[in-house]
Symmetry: C2
Subunit: 445 residues, 2 copies
């Protein structure tokens, strides 16, 4: 059913069963890549035309890498597949009885559906925070934050009231997981190595970087050694770490913490909770805390032919009572698993259940510093861990050209201390300081 | 005078005379770079925080290069200057009697003013064309056009009415100068080498690329050999060249030509006329056709201490009765000239008049093809000319890192036929086909 005349999804009907994948993140991309298109037709829907390498979004936000370097067009990534069809679309709903998905262009029948549309930032219903906080889930998010930071420094060069300056320069990072830790480290390095050269007139001792973590240690889930190393190093770099506190409100100017503290800031970065983005039409009993409950075959429990992979899937086990970690590896492994076995599912053959292979956890703290923890709890810190971190991140980038770009950028950065991506091409207009706002609005970038 | 409390331009008062430069394009950047800051304080105002390498904008628009690769932060480019101050600001007016410029933050006194704010697209007062045509003067312009093109192809994959498809895919380029010729060549190569792989379902024989030129030959001002080569090659690449015609109207859906022809298109690229962007407060008698009349010392005729360089300056001579060409070289040479001689101007010493040294003209037509004309009319075409074109463009990029990036991108492109920058990060929402518009608006990228 097409909504407009002369328009249709234009997916050819073949005798092969059709697999529809929603979302081109890690899970969806690997699934699409691995499904045998001699036996199945594959249709991929995404509302963006590119795959985002989310683990490096923080580098885009802190002017370390260009947005394009960590993204690859989905069509290009999958151009060698024969009966593969990408459509740039929003999926509106799923009709499980009819085996169809409804998109903004029309309906499409599926034989198998793989839901891989991931998570979004969770503000726990606080609309004010949702309006004013900077999420870090997409490239536009990261570019908005970069512009906000760069505009802040430009404005700061024209502000001489010390209190106003301190408020403008202060940054709050919410969430002490890998993204929060990595963002804090990158901002500390910008403050030390780069900004004083670009803005000789600004007193950067007025720039506070707060890292607020709800638990009693950073990098929850990692070993004590990793946790302690991150804390010590960030502390040494001048990050003001606030443990055992949550940000309970933020109105664009003042962040209120659960410990009663308040912080004046125009830049609050949200790297705390996420929530699944469950598409309408799926049965309520399939959903647990905004995620789709899947069995050990990654199939949505109770459904006939719907699989869920990656962040949107809730796969609980004895080893992972809260589900798998919301990082790239589980999504990649689930995507590959479903793709590899879909022929057997189709023929009702026996399939070994999915097993998540923990390849270890990684977080970088700054230039030449990282923590790397193997699945057996063995932990490496410092330069060696950073080298592994860099190597793995480059290896998993979506295409060869991006690997070269990122490698070159990091080498350049390593030797020059200057990343040089500090362009305000996409201005961000939501500053709350009346003055900063006027400066920004009166000047079109 | 500051407009807000606690806010000021924060430019230190010194005993040195102050040179204020408006605009960080080729002229302003070279002037700022070359002025001796031991003798003068230099203040640079721009509404963007980066310098744009305009000759390669067409490559950003056609997904050949990333926007960041042809831009460099102005602060970084000039960070080694001592008494140099950049402010991200819009200049509102100039008060010639008081020797001040008024900005959105406040006024600033100057001893010397260098006006280098360039040109904008000239739609000759046609508001409809201004609304719907795609200009090519800035990186945001080029990124908008890239998104429009990529969104067009995504929409086209879902349109099966042949007439609607033809209208959606057709592109009109207005102006047969270097930018128009280079854009046409790049689009023809995308159509031939790249798009059929990305969009196997689209019939690209329906994609027309029109190049409309008001005169009777392309690349006006270049030799007959260059002109003929460009015509023949673009023709061979399937560009539909329309000579001796102007686009007189464009409403976002239909372009009307002065020869009576009409073309259905949603993408009309404006690489025709430009007009100077004269800042208010300057005397009307200083202005000729929206440009500032300067004498042979680049001084605005009749002014005490105001210089104008680059596109905004009108410097007519016997050899150049219509003024210097609106390209990078005159701007660079004027910027260097004023910077080098400002000490002598200040001391009322004798200065040799400015002489423009024509280093030749260049335009590329496609991969490995270009025309290169020396000042003496000697013309080279083909691969050698392309090699010179590439070498010169890389050599003049704003920083070393950009030179490596562009060199790498071109080498990659040359050997793979795939530039891979086809990401829609900055969606463009002004499509006029009702269907394309709905597709775009209903899907947030």
């Amino acid at each position: 059913m097409a909504l407009y005349s002369g328009v249709s999804l234009n997916i050819p009907d073949t005798s092969k069963p059709r697999v529809v994948i929603i979302g081109g993140g890690f899970g969806g991309l690997y699934a699409a890549h691995k499904i045998d298109t001699d036996k199945f037709q594959v249709v991929l829907f995404d509302k963006r035309n590119y795959h985002t390498f989310q683990p490096l979004l923080y580098q885009v936000a802190t002017a370390g890498l260009q947005g394009d370097a960590i993204a690859g067009p989905l069509r290009t990534a999958l151009k060698n597949k024969k009966d593969f069809h990408f459509r740039l679309l929003r999926v509106l709903s799923i009709n499980e009885d009819k085996n169809t998905v409804t998109t903004s262009i029309g309906d499409l029948h599926y034989d198998y559906l793989i839901v891989a549309n991931g998570c979004k930032s969770n503000f726990y219903g606080n609309k004010l925070m949702e309006t004013y906080a900077f999420p870090m889930k997409s490239i536009p998010d990261a570019l908005n934050l970069k512009s906000q930071l760069m505009q802040t420094f430009e404005s700061a060069s024209m502000i001489n009231d010390p209190e106003r300056l301190e408020k403008l320069l202060s940054i709050v990072i919410v969430g002490g997981g890998p993204t929060g830790v990595e963002t804090a480290g990158a901002l500390a390095e910008l403050r030390k190595q780069v900004l004083p050269k670009d803005y000789p007139g600004i007193d950067f001792s007025k720039m506070h970087i707060y890292l607020v973590q709800s638990g009693d240690h950073l990098l929850a889930g990692m070993s004590e050694k990793a946790t302690n190393y991150a804390y010590k190093d960030l502390n040494r770099m001048g990050i003001e770490i606030i443990l055992n506190a949550k940000v309970t409100n933020y109105d664009g100017a003042v962040a209120t913490l659960s410990n009663g503290q308040t912080i004046n800031t125009f830049t609050l970065i949200w790297s705390a909770g996420v929530t699944g983005d469950v598409i309408s039409g799926l049965k309520p009993e399939w959903v647990d805390r905004d995620k789709l409950i899947v069995d050990e075959y990654c199939k949505v429990k109770g459904s006939k032919n719907i699989y869920a992979i990656g962040d949107i899937a809730s796969l609980k086990s004895e080893k992972y009572p809260h589900g798998l970690p919301g990082v790239a590896q589980p999504a990649i492994q689930m995507g590959k698993y479903v793709a590899k076995n879909i022929g057997k599912f189709h023929n009702n053959e026996k399939v070994a259940p999915f097993r998540y292979l923990d390849k270890g956890s990684l977080a970088t703290i700054g230039r030449g510093k990282a923590v790397f923890q193997l699945s057996g709890n063995r932990t490496f810190t410092g330069f060696f861990a950073w080298f592994i971190w860099a190597f793995i991140h480059i290896a998993f980038l979506v295409n060869f050209k991006n690997r070269i770009k990122v490698f070159f950028s990091w080498m350049w950065d390593y030797f020059t201390y200057d990343s040089g991506n500090r362009l305000i091409i996409r201005p961000y207009i939501r500053a709350n300081d009346e003055v900063a706002k006027q400066i920004i609005e009166e000047n079109d970038y």
